[in-house]
Every structure is written in structure tokens, then in C-alpha cells.
Assembly symmetry: C2
Homo-oligomer: 419 residues x 2
């Protein structure tokens, strides 16, 4: 059975361009992953007439409607009242929700107002869906075999409801094929290069399998999807497809799967090995340190970093030799190596990484144009240095240089520990 869904996001703020609708892409991705086709995504204002008209139209085309937004406590939030009217339903107090609201306010020592109490009202024909993160429950309405879900617009509440309530309920109600996914994470590959590399393999993979390319600055995600009827067989097939893909792309480029990040992979590895890291940054200006410290628990292996923007700070803080800066310039092999060694020595760590380059838009010369970037990784027993050229806008050059440095570090950690 082919199941179609439509996503309807409700809120004036969407139509005046005040916020970007990120909810729909999340919901569409979750639905696609279980084999449901999303036919349309529609954003409409908080107007009763528009909500009813859109719903009635969408019900002609879709088995499932997912509505987000308009469930808040203020007077412009009218989704609940509109649904009650559409389904000829009266409002009742949903006791578990009222108890949650009372608990929430009691904890903060505030009295529950009439407006807050009203948040516990739901139309009596709907099935409430437990919201594990907030107080407003989701609601499920049924109409001639079709499901209509109404969810809060707050992204993290909506996400919890989709994962914990909506997807399981859909899977129970509709007979869908089993679909499994795995995402292989790569860096250093362009989309077109990867497509050429994988062309033959893509033609060879069995029916029911597909590959999606998901690019973002510095990173290319490759998602393999597979569908069928036997979960165990699919799991094994997926595992071997993943291994094939990884070995085709190569260890140098593949840094993880699914929710991994370069900094989390490095963090896990350093924690296991009881080894430590310091960073010296010039053109990346603190972004590498920011990525590394965005991982909870980074203090176990990350001791610190120095961002040295001035030559003087390179000399004074990182102990780069003044004569090297004068003879080679600060964007050079000699200087970036001394920066990496300096960071490692000063912070007393096992590994040190450093960047020095010209992020732009100014500062380029004919010999060293904007985008010229040197990266060095100092390990306990050697130093690896490479020159790159990223001729993009400042912001993206910083991101790409940082990701590239982390990937060099990942490889250097593995190589050192193999011995």
C-alpha cells in the first residue's frame, strides 16, 4: 500500500518570513525513512478559515496529515479550537495534562492561571499523545481511515512527539515495507567526485536499495536506504553495503557513520587511549577549539588552544622563531609546524594541530592568494604537514580548514596508535 502524507505548518510568523520552517524537513525526513511519500508541505497563517480549507483539500490527497503550530496559550493560537469545530467536538479537560501543568507551576511557586488551565483542554474526539518534554499534548484525529496529527510548533517538543508517538502509531496503523538506513560520513570529497567514484557500484546495488548524497560545507554524507520485508536479512544486506561503500571511498575520507562528527570520533578515540590534544590556530581563529569543545566531556582530553593572530603572539606564546616568520612569512610550512609543536609543548599534550592561512577577503598576494592554508599535526613522534587551497568566502574557508585539520588529526591518531 502506498501511503501519502501532507505536512501543514501553521503560524503567521512563517508567512512574514520571521522564522525559517525547519520542522517540515525534519518531519519529511522521518516519514520518508519509513516509506511514506510526502506530497506537499504547506505553510498557512493562524486563521481558522485557512486551516479548515487547507485540511479539507489535503484530506483528498493524503492518508496522513501532520499539522504543527498554533497550540500555544495566547489568543492568536487557534489550531485546537478550529479542529474541535471541524470535527464537531466539544472541549474537555485532559486530566493528565492538567496535572503536568499544575506540577510545572507548583515547582516554580506560581499559581496556575485560567489561561494556563485552558492549555489542558482538548477536543473530546481526539486521542491525546503524550508530550515527554513539554506540557501541551499532541492530538490524533481519525477521519474515514485517515490520520490527522496536531503537534506543537516548538521544534524539540515536535521532534519528541514525532519519534515517540507519531511514527510508532503510523507503523501500527499502516502496512508499510520495512526500510532501513545507514549514513556514511565523509570529508575531503566533492559530490561530483564521489558520484564518479560510486557510479558503477550504484548501478550494481540490488533493487530496493538507494544512495542519497547529502552535502554540507566540508562534509559529504552518503545515505544508503534499503527496503523489503525481512528485517534481519535487510540488516545484514545493509551492513555489507555499508562496508562496500566504505572501502570504495577509503579510510582517508570516511570518518564515521550516522550521528558521528569528526570532533566526537576524535574525542571518543582520545578518551579510550588516554591521550591529549592542544590546538594552535591562526586563520581558523578559534573555530577548531570551538568544534572540539562542543563535545560534552572534552575536558578529559582537550587541554587548550592558542589563537595567535599577530606575529608577536606566535613568537611569544607559541615560541615560533622570529627569523622563520621573517624569511618564510607566517603562512608557511616552517611556521605552521612550529605552531603545532609549540601548542603540544606548552599545553603538555600528546598531539598538537595548527593552521595558518589567508581566510580572506583581504590579505592575499600573488604568491599566497586568499584560500592558501597550511595545516600541521604534531604527534608524539613526528609531524605531518600539508598545504591546501580553499578559494571560497571567509566563513566557509574557516569551516573547511577546520574540518580538514580535524581529519588529518583523526588519521594521525590512528597511525600513531597502530604501532
Amino acid at each position: 500500500m502506498h501511503v501519502f502524507a501532507e505536512i501543514i505548518t501553521i503560524g503567521d510568523e512563517l508567512l512574514i518570513g520571521q522564522i525559517v520552517d525547519t520542522n517540515s524537513a525534519f518531519i519529511a525526513d522521518e516519514l520518508t525513512k519509513i516509506g511514506i511519500s510526502v506530497r506537499r508541505i504547506i505553510s498557512i497563517p493562524d486563521k481558522s478559515h485557512d486551516i479548515i480549507e487547507t485540511l479539507e483539500n489535503s484530506l483528498k490527497y493524503a492518508n496522513i496529515l501532520i499539522l504543527t503550530g498554533g497550540l500555544g496559550p495566547t489568543s492568536d493560537d487557534i489550531t485546537k479550537q478550529t479542529l474541535a469545530q471541524l470535527f464537531d467536538s466539544k472541549m474537555i479537560i485532559h486530566k493528565p495534562t492538567l496535572r503536568e501543568i499544575e506540577k510545572y507551576f507548583a515547582k516554580r511557586g506560581i499559581e496556575v492561571s485560567e489561561r494556563n488551565r485552558k492549555q489542558a483542554e482538548i477536543p473530546n474526539v481526539c486521542t491525546p499523545l503524550k508530550n515527554s518534554i513539554g506540557t501541551a499534548p499532541g492530538m490524533l484525529f481519525m477521519k474515514s481511515g485517515r490520520q490527522i496529527y496536531s503537534l506543537p510548533g516548538v521544534p524539540f517538543e515536535m521532534k519528541a512527539l514525532i519519534k515517540e508517538q507519531v511514527i510508532p502509531t503510523i507503523l501500527k496503523e499502516f502496512k508499510l515495507p520495512i526500510i532501513l538506513h545507514t549514513t556514511v560520513l565523509t570529508t575531503g570529497l566533492s559530490e561530483s567526485y564521489a558520484a564518479d567514484l560510486l557510479k558503477e557500484w550504484e548501478e550494481r546495488i540490488p533493487a530496493g536499495c538507494s544512495l542519497a548524497y547529502l552535502p554540507s560545507p566540508g562534509i559529504l554524507k552518503l545515505r544508503i536506504s534499503i527496503s523489503g520485508s525481512n528485517r534481519e536479512i535487510l540488516k545484514n544486506q545493509l551492513k555489507s553495503l555499508e562496508e562496500e561503500l566504505k572501502s570504495l571511498i577509503g579510510y582517508q575520507f570516511v570518518f564515521g557513520t550516522d550521528t558521528d562528527t569528526l570532533q566526537s570520533v576524535i574525542g571518543r578515540r582520545l578518551t579510550e587511549l588516554h591521550q591529549t590534544l592542544a590546538v594552535a590556530e591562526s586563520c581558523t581563529g578559534g573555530y577548531i577549539a570551538h568544534l572540539v569543545t562542543s563535545v560534552p566531556g572534552a575536558s578529559a582530553y582537550f587541554y587548550g588552544s592558542a589563537t595567535s593572530y599577530s606575529n608577536n603572539s606566535k613568537i611569544k606564546v607559541l615560541k615560533v622563531s622570529e627569523s622563520n616568520i621573517q624569511s618564510e612569512g607566517s603562512v608557511s610550512k616552517a611556521v605552521v609546524e612550529q605552531m603545532a609543536e609549540g601548542a603540544k609543548r606548552i599545553f603538555n599534550t600528546d598531539f598538537g594541530i595548527a593552521t595558518s592561512g589567508i581566510a580572506g577577503p583581504d590579505g592575499g598576494t600573488e604568491l599566497k592568494p586568499v584560500g592558501t592554508i597550511w595545516i600541521a599535526v604534531a604527534t608524539p613522534d613526528k609531524i605531518i604537514t600539508q598545504k591546501f587551497f580553499f578559494p571560497d568566502v571567509r566563513e566557509r574557508n574557516i569551516v573547511r580548514a577546520s574540518i580538514t585539520a580535524l581529519n588529518m588529526l583523526r588519521i594521525a591518531i590512528d597511525e600513531f596508535n597502530k604501532k
Copy 2:
């Protein structure tokens, strides 16, 4: 005359959740700013039937339709063919576009393929709109007084076409009121606090004026809009409303207007004053340095930063006293002040800022729970220190602490230079 628009974004990638539709919010914002009401935003797949059905339906409600996507060179891009069919039009070669395409390939020494040449084809009934950034032109179709714009989906090409072609054409065709805007940028204020503060003022401002609250982590933007018929009068009215708003909110919270950022405001000020900055970060982990160095030309005033995650690096690199760390802990007034002083001294700058806190999710204690953050600013003649509590998730705590530190720095620079 009230003018309505609908935005239609076309692309399979939107409906499988592969990309977030950021184009629509941009377009909705641009249309809202010139006084047009956006009625719906609809995302549909690259299917001829869906495009025609959606267009015909939207034309019943809107004077202006803006379509994005589906104009690329690959076989799944079918917007152009579909519009030609809908408007009973044949394809012709658009000479200026062909010349652009030939130039593009000649520069790269590649021959123009048949597929690329086809990119220069447009339906003969449309008015081509010059794309100043890419090769594919926008297209304008007219139907009984209604305008239908078809634009490429690539965000930066779409944005250029909206600003340079679409908005001017709409303003020529439709009689719209003049609308002017200014955005006052604040930090350190919650939306509800600001709303209470501005309640009376909002009730008092003249008809035709409105205020929008645009919150993002750590920053609240307040946009004043004003409409009428005389541009000069409106400009003056807007200026005085802006001044009223600024003085109501107060200098401590207002850091700029429109496209300013805290780091660009600070950068401009330090450049003018020929003064310099160094940073010492613990819990913010490099994010302050990243913000500061995201401004082109930051090397003129930013000398460097040290991220000291380990106690040892605080002692060794920033010369924090070991006994202070032992008696007060590293998250303390004494330590954060020594970090700021240390950064200023080591990098030899006029100002030094420092953060030390517990970003979470681990590391909190009863006395110093997650979210406890100390910030210090060392000026040439004194040190300003403050304790904050940001009990949110790690990522947002880092952003808020960084923005708060930069705002303290902004005020300290002004205060020092007033003397």
C-alpha cells in the same frame, strides 16, 4: 490596494527532508517589507502535474506567485517546460543567456554541451530577468494582471534576483504604500521583559507603525516598520521612533542596528581607536575568538586568544595562580580576573576578556551548578567582573556566555575611551 502573494518551492529534495527550505522565509520577508501579504508557502515535487495544479489553484487567491527551483540542467528539472506548456508557449534561445554560458565555459576551456546550451532556452511569452550571479535567468509570466515569477532554487542566485529584479518590478506594477524598516539590536533582554518594557510605547506609536520581536539565542532584534505615502516624512518619523526605542531599552542592551553584529561593532570601534584585544576562554572553548575573527580585517585589532581547558594550562599559559585555583576553584571571580589580565599581558593588548564556567551537561555541583559562568573584562585601567547563570543546553550556554562577554567588552571600551 491589498496585494497577495503565494510562494511555491519546487524540488523533490524538499519533500524527502533532504534540505530545509530557507528560500521561502527570505522571500516572505522581502515581500512583507514592501507591504505584500504572503498567503501560503507551498513545497511540491518536480512533477509537471503537481506544478500545474498548484499554480492554477494559487492564481485564484494571489496577485503574485513566486516559484523557485526546477530550473537546473538535469532531466528532473522540469519547471521551465511545464510553464511553457501551461502558457501555450514555444521555446526560444535567449541570446544574452547563451552568450553568458559560452563565456563561462570558454573561461574554463570546456566546450559547451547540448545540455548546457539548452539552459539558454526560455518560453517565448515570458520576460527574462537578468541573473547577475549565475547563468540561468529568472522568468516573468503575466496572466490577467497577475505576475508569475520563476527563479532558480540556488539561494544566492534567487536572492540576487529577488532584490534586483522581482521587488523593483512589483513596485512598478502595483501601487503599494511606502514601507520603511529599521532593526534595533539588543542583547541581555528576554522577549517577555522587552514586551513589558515597551508595552506603553507600543500603544502610543502612530497608526501605520508596528514593532516585531525577532529572538535568537542571546540576541533580540526589534524591527520597527512604518508605512505611508511620503518617503521623507516617513524617514524622519522612523528615525525618531528608533531613538525613542533605543533610549527606552537603554545603552547597556542596545548594541547596534540592522546588519551590525556585536563583533563587527567592537571591531569598528577598536579599529577607529587603534586599540587591541586578547581573549582567554575556558567554558566558551574558542567560540569568542571565532566570533571576533569572523569579521574581515580582525587582524588589525585582535592579537590572539588562549583557550585553557586544563588547570595546568591556566597556570602555565595565562599565569593564573595555582593557589587561587585550589582555594576558589577554576570557576571563580579570582581565576577569571587573572585569566583576563593574563591574556591582556601575554598578547600585549589594551583589552582582555575571559570566561570561566560550567557549560554542561556534566561538571555541575550543588554550589556551582551547570550554567554558572564568570566573565571578566580587563581594560587598561581596571577590571570588570560579573557572574551569570545560563541553565540551558551546552551549545546555547556557550553562545550566550560569548555574546554576554562581547557586550561587556563593548561597554568597557566605550567607558574607557570616554575619559
